[in-house]
Amino acid sequence: MRRSWLVLLAILMLLGAFSLSLAQTTDEPPDTDAPDQEVGAPVEPGDEEGQEPALPAEDVEEAGEGEEEPAMEAPGDEEISAGDELAGEEVAAEETELEEPGLGTPGGGLVLPRPNQVEVFDVPNDGGAGLGVLWYWDGATSAQTRIYIEVKSSPELLDEYRLTDDEWNRLSRELDALEADLRDILPVRNAARAETVELDIALRKAIADESPEAARLRREYWQKQIVENERMQTRRDKLWDRLQRRTGRSSAGDDRLPLLEKYQAFRYLEAAFAQGEWISTNIANVNPEMIETKADYPDLFGLDPEEADKLYAAVNSLRAVNPAAIGEELFVNAEARYDYQAPNTVSIPLTPGVHYDLRMVVMEGELIQTHDLGGAATRTNYLDRSKLNNLIFAAVFAALILSAIAIARRNPKMFIRRISGLEAVDEAIGRATEMGKPVLYLCGLDPLSTLPTIAAVNILGRVARRIADYDSDLLVPCRDPVVLTVAQEVVKEGYIDAGRPDAYREDNIFFVTDDQFSYTAATCGIMMREKPAANFFMGYYYAESLLLAETGASTGAIQIAGTDALHQLPFFITTCDYTLIGEELYAASAYLSREPMLLGSLKGQDIGKAMVMLLIILQTLFFIISANWNWLRMLVEPL
């Protein structure tokens, strides 16, 4: 009985794991594993925002007379972000028909490749929204081919980024306050900055000429640079910090952009929409050969997806170029008013809960072709599915611990293996009786609130009972007054259990001092004087372990230690006759005290260990059966 439920649970776990991993191989993948690095990490961290928009613009001009102006705002960025997880169902899996073939083939038989069997679906990102696109190429790509994925603009889309009246008021109020406060600061700083440049040149010249002016110039330079420029800059930064703090999040809560950025995103998008119907995304100017396939994203599509070679790209932000005249309302003359420079391009994350229509632009040299991909709606993600294996493990393990404790409450006779150190205890006490010498027992140096000390006190109860049986003396010097009181109780109880309450002497369990080294010195003194036949060191020890164990060994006592202080264990093992190593101490204490909490969680941990061992065995077996069967490891891969 006692072992059967353990085995049962282990089998259940295994089945769960099995079904989970089988699920990975199907097309709807509630899956668990992929290395963390892939999540949202740019494949090529190359260009960032703020790169001159001129470059892609040139591209477009070179591209000549395409049917539609493609990628007007393409910022020339080569980020491919992998989406995180595939949401349960595919929102729109339209298989798009091929359009008319592209322009002619001036390059001599060159035909642009076109996407085929396209699927667009929602990929909830870590803290954001994203759309995934899957397709096959119809035709060959080359190293010169570039693709862009673009989003169709619509009034509704723009509305997602529009400030509400309340937000608008808040932002403009704060910006006004900022402007007012900066009015005193900016002119001084700007003047100082300008002068610093001149002063710097003059100072260098003066130093080179060894002119006597140098000292004065250096003072002036210091005055301008440190006192005026830097101090003013600091004040300016603080005011900006205040603005960011006060206008941090928008009120709605559904939106991840701080107000200022939201406003800016709105302005940029508005301008972009005014220029063309389509707007660029993070998939821009990408060489199709750099695009990865379904097989590269086991976290999304399982380990062995159908159509594993289907190409995959994730769209998670819009790119908009600085409209030359951003200038309405708040941002007129922004640099002078707020010391704010609008960035050249901004990357605007997709908003959850919005329908986006996508198209793909394929470009090679002069040739350009566009294809509608269909669309899908993004959704907010409230569960990070990449952490699912973590969640399952944590929940199952917690349930195991709690139920094991509940079972232990009803049935405290749960099986725990004999701890061989405990037999050595009886032997040592027997020898002490033979020699007519006392036994020394230490409960460690930690207070009673820690587990090792509780374990030590539990074992003390057992030792006391045996000692009462054999009629020897038990000395317990304590470091903590609370431990002292409890130890006295426990020992007294042991003597009463053994039917020898008369033999109990309270003076033998005593408080020494709470100072670490004084305690050690005093205890060593006791060992030298009383020459106990057996020494027990249970509980937690620090650097003094060596002193205690060495002194004990030199008096010829049998020594038994038990601690989970890993650094002190080697010393105990070499100087003591028997040592309870680490968790054995807890097991011994649970074995003796039968306390449900200790017993139950020991059992729960045992099941955890059994699971780990089972995984090791299975993995090895599977590897030997078939060298490619590696899914057990994927199961525990942290994401």
Binding site: N125, D126, G127, R249, G253, R256, T380, N381, Y382, L383, D384, K387, N390, L391, A394, F397, A398, I401, L402, I405, S449, T450, L451, I454, V482, D514, F517, A543, L546, L547, A549, E550, A553, S554, L566, P570, F571, I573, T574, T575, D577, G582, E583, Y586, M597, S601, G604, Q605, G608, K609, V612
Partner: protein, 226 residues
């Protein structure tokens, strides 16, 4: 009242624990903010817990003096040293008249001077004394009593020779006695394996303790009393 003394803390631990646990799986900004705010509070709380340690130590020494316990004379030294060191860092006074350039905890003030010339040497010396005891224990107590102790001492000796320059020197002179290689293998293979086994066990027990705390089974943190 008893509710607030006994049940309320358990409920608080449960709610906060579950929220902090669950938020890990929720990838929204609000959940991140929740964690940031909690850690901010936690930092302040731990700061006060540290003050608690300081106060109870002082309390201990004051009461030792008041009750004239054995060795109470030394407690005067502790208190005097505390007052001098504490004031040296807190008082906004220039110590130039004593020849110190800095004040409070900045620069070369008396606080810094006391830290470097009293705190550092004493703390460093306390543990260095153990080197002597290890050497004496090597003679008197480190015995190959059992198979386990024998293998432990063997590994230890290989480590001790293999991890100092003289091991390299010996290996260069006597080809067969390559302790640096052996020590490196011991550390990287059997040691790593055993440590990983121990680590997995320890982690499971850490998680078990955390679960017990959240579900109110483990209440040692509450201290004694009703």
């Amino acid at each position: 009242m008893l509710f607030f003394k006994r049940q309320w803390p358990v409920i608080v631990a449960f709610v906060v624990g579950i929220v902090m646990w669950a938020r890990y799986y929720i990838p929204t900004d609000e959940s991140q903010t929740l964690q940031d705010e909690f850690t901010r509070w936690a930092r302040i709380l731990v700061g006060f817990a540290a003050i608690l340690g300081i106060l109870s130590l002082l309390h201990h020494h004051v009461s030792k003096i008041r009750l004239k316990k054995p060795g109470f004379g030394f407690s005067y030294i502790t208190l005097a040293a505390f007052i001098v060191m504490g004031l040296a860092g807190l008082l906004p006074i220039s110590w130039r008249w004593l020849g110190f350039a800095g004040m409070q905890i900045h620069g070369e003030g008396p606080w810094n001077w006391m830290f470097n010339n009293m705190f550092v040497p004493m703390q460093a010396t306390m543990f260095s004394v153990l080197a002597f005891f290890i050497a004496s224990a090597a003679f008197r107590a480190f015995r190959a009593r059992s198979m386990e102790a024998t293998s432990l001492l063997l590994a230890a000796c290989i480590m001790m020779i293999g991890r100092v320059p003289i091991g390299k020197w010996i290996a260069d002179s006597v080809t067969f006695f390559n302790t640096p290689e052996a020590a490196s293998w011991l550390l990287n293979i059997p040691n790593a394996a055993a440590q990983r086994g121990i680590l997995l066990g320890v982690l499971l027990s850490q998680i078990a303790i955390a679960v017990r705390i959240i579900f109110g089974i483990e209440r040692t943190y509450m201290g004694g009393g009703d």
